[in-house]
């Protein structure tokens, strides 16, 4: 019985809703994963720690890719959920610091708490039939309100148990995730492996999801909500579910982030932080998970490298990149490149094969 289940899931990994279905893609993917894991053996703890934090943002980016690219709902709320999860984790973990498994419970509280809030928010937005272009504004406001609220929590009166919320200075001294004696703090190999493993599982899991019948229904809601409703789907419920899941993924990134830096502050829910996931998703190509993964890591790296050299110029450059993408690569840079490559290779081999995964992009191009 269990074996059958596995055989049902495997084809979904390679379905038409995501780029990269050929043998070459999977060989590259496995090589890339192996290199990432192998790097843990040779890399210095410092470089591992630097690399890990880029990958820690991948679940948040993929969450938005699912919500926006597949579900058709643009949200600036990922930062809010990232922040809430980080704060909730900090509060619970800080209070349960001497309890065994306390940080794991805290991580669960962070993610589940975030999803609960997202489900409530999503319920009012989607069951209230709020029109599509209002949702980005509502979610942006959610992020900004939370930033403002957390910003005024300075002082001793703002504490939960023994944990101070910290106002604009942020919450400090948040314990890292730990499992017995195994510490997943920023500068450890264990943390690096945890992040890489989590990211790969999230990617593959979402791949299965978008290729499943449910994932097709999600795309159906994006393409034509009315038609999907008239095929017997509870469209509002699907939207709330996808919104909640994407928030949970942002929450997962939030937990990974605080475990890495032991620190959370309100600006992680601010205007800039709220915009970044949208930039990652748009620049890579929102209709493909792998594109979002690649651009999230690349742009995180780029922002980091630029910040070291030129401070705030990093954001100017990211903004310019977003503009360039929207003007010249409306389907995203990674997706455009993948398509060019397919076309080029097809012409080269004179292979009359179809590439259904790119259908969405082609539609939008025309």
């Amino acid at each position: 019985m269990k074996r059958n289940r596995i055989f049902e899931i495997l084809p979904l990994l390679n379905g038409p809703m995501e780029l990269g279905q050929g043998r070459n893609f999977w060989i590259l993917f496995c090589l890339f994963s192996l290199v990432l894991f192998g790097y843990a053996l040779v890399g210095s703890v410092f470089s591992l720690s630097n690399l890990a934090i880029f990958f820690a943002y991948v679940p948040m980016g993929l969450g938005l890719g699912l919500l926006w690219g597949y579900g058709g709902v643009l949200s600036f709320g990922q930062a809010a959920f990232f922040g809430i999860s980080g704060y909730v984790y900090g509060i619970v973990a800080g209070n349960l610091i001497s309890t065994p498994g306390g940080t794991l419970l805290a991580a669960a509280c962070g993610v589940v708490g975030t999803m609960t809030l997202a489900a409530a928010f999503g319920y009012f937005v989607f069951y209230g039939q709020v029109s599509g272009w209002i949702i980005p504004l509502l979610t942006l406001v959610l992020s900004l309100i939370l930033e403002t609220f957390m910003g005024q929590t300075a002082g001793y009166q703002w504490r939960v148990g023994s944990v101070l919320l910290g106002g604009y200075n942020g919450m400090t001294g948040i314990p890292s995730l730990n499992l017995g004696s195994l510490q997943f703090s920023g500068a450890t190999v264990a943390y690096y492996l945890l992040v890489i493993g989590t990211m790969l599982i999230v990617y593959l899991g979402l791949r299965v999801l978008v290729n499943s019948r449910y994932g097709h229904a999600v795309a159906g809601v994006r393409e034509d909500p009315e038609r999907t409703r008239m095929l017997g789907y509870n469209v509002n419920l699907i939207q709330v579910q996808v919104f909640t899941l994407s928030a949970g993924l942002a929450g997962l990134s939030g937990v990974l982030y605080v475990s890495w830096g032991n620190y959370m502050n309100p600006s992680s829910m601010g205007l800039l932080a709220a915009t970044l996931p949208v930039i990652w998703t748009a620049v890579g190509g929102r209709n493909s998970l792998i594109a979002v993964l690649i651009s999230t890591v690349t742009l995180r790296y780029l922002a980091d490298a630029l910040a070291v050299r030129g401070g705030e110029y990093a954001f100017l450059i990211l903004g310019a990149l977003l503009l360039t993408t929207m003007l010249f690569f409306p389907t995203g840079i990674v997706v455009s490149l993948a398509r060019r490559w397919h076309v080029w290779r097809k012409r080269d081999l004179r292979m009359p094969s179809s590439i259904p995964a790119e259908t969405n992009q082609e539609r939008e191009d025309s």
Partner: protein, 243 residues
């Protein structure tokens, strides 16, 4: 030519005193209508007669101000659209509504929800008859217009409906394609599917040649067999006179 609904007498759909206005206009005005199981019913009427409004009341896209819709003995007047589909009432829209960016197979995958497609005899028959069974990997948006219409009918069939609502299924089709669609509807009906069809095209209505309901200004103007309707002077006046 069949006279009246040939059925086992069981009512599948009952519309009682249904009313819906937009602004000051009564688009559907106290309509009473009964559909028996296994029936193939045509609904005609001039432009703006309220045919499409009546359909959207049936499928739940609009809510009526008064009246009742009873489907399979159950009041569904205020049921949300997706619940009606799950109860077995599915509609093909007037303007073709398919997922153009997805392939034919993906369209059908979404449409059949958690049903097992191999158990859906009418669907596989329909795909074959309409020449869609070997188009699975094609983009739905790339299909010719008529095939897109047929695909939407197949998608409606994939939901395993008891009652199929077809809103202008032959709009924009050539006479040959219209004739094929009419043939298809007759055969589908012969397999036991109850079909309620709105159509402008009189060639289609004549080929189907079943019980016809004429809607005019939101009211039922006349009902009867094709012969009766065609020989009705008043109907000719408002509608067929244009032919």
């Amino acid at each position: 030519m069949s006279a009246g609904p040939e059925s086992d007498g069981e009512n599948l759909l009952q519309i009682e005193d249904l009313t819906k206005s937009f602004g000051g206009i009564r688009a559907v005005n106290h309509v009473n209508l009964t559909l028996s199981k296994g029936e193939l019913r045509c609904l005609i009427g001039p432009n703006g007669a309220g045919k499409s409004t009546l359909f959207s009341l049936l499928s739940g896209l609009h809510k009526p101000e008064a009246g009742r819709i009873v489907f399979k003995g159950e009041d569904i007047t205020f049921l949300p659209p997706f619940r009606r589909v799950r109860k077995g009432l599915c509609q093909k829209f007037q303007t073709t509504r398919i997922y153009r960016g997805l392939t034919v197979n993906q369209n059908l995958l979404i449409a059949r929800r958690d049903h097992d497609s191999s158990e859906n005899g009418p669907l596989s028959w329909a795909l074959k008859t309409l020449g869609l069974d070997d188009q699975g990997d094609r983009l739905a948006g790339e299909l010719p217009h008529s095939a897109q219409q047929w695909l939407e009918i197949c998608m409606a069939l994939a939901t395993l409906p008891d009652l199929l609502l077809l809103d202008e299924p032959t709009a924009g089709m050539t006479p040959d394609e219209t004739s094929l669609t009419a043939e298809f509807a007759i055969n589908l009906n012969a397999q036991g599917m109850t079909i309620f069809v709105v159509e402008h095209d009189m060639a289609f209505i004549r080929q189907i040649a079943r019980f016809v309901t004429v809607l005019h200004y939101g009211c039922i103007f006349a009902e009867g067999t094709l012969d009766q309707i065609e020989s009705n002077q008043d109907v000719r006046c408002i509608y067929l006179g244009e032919q």
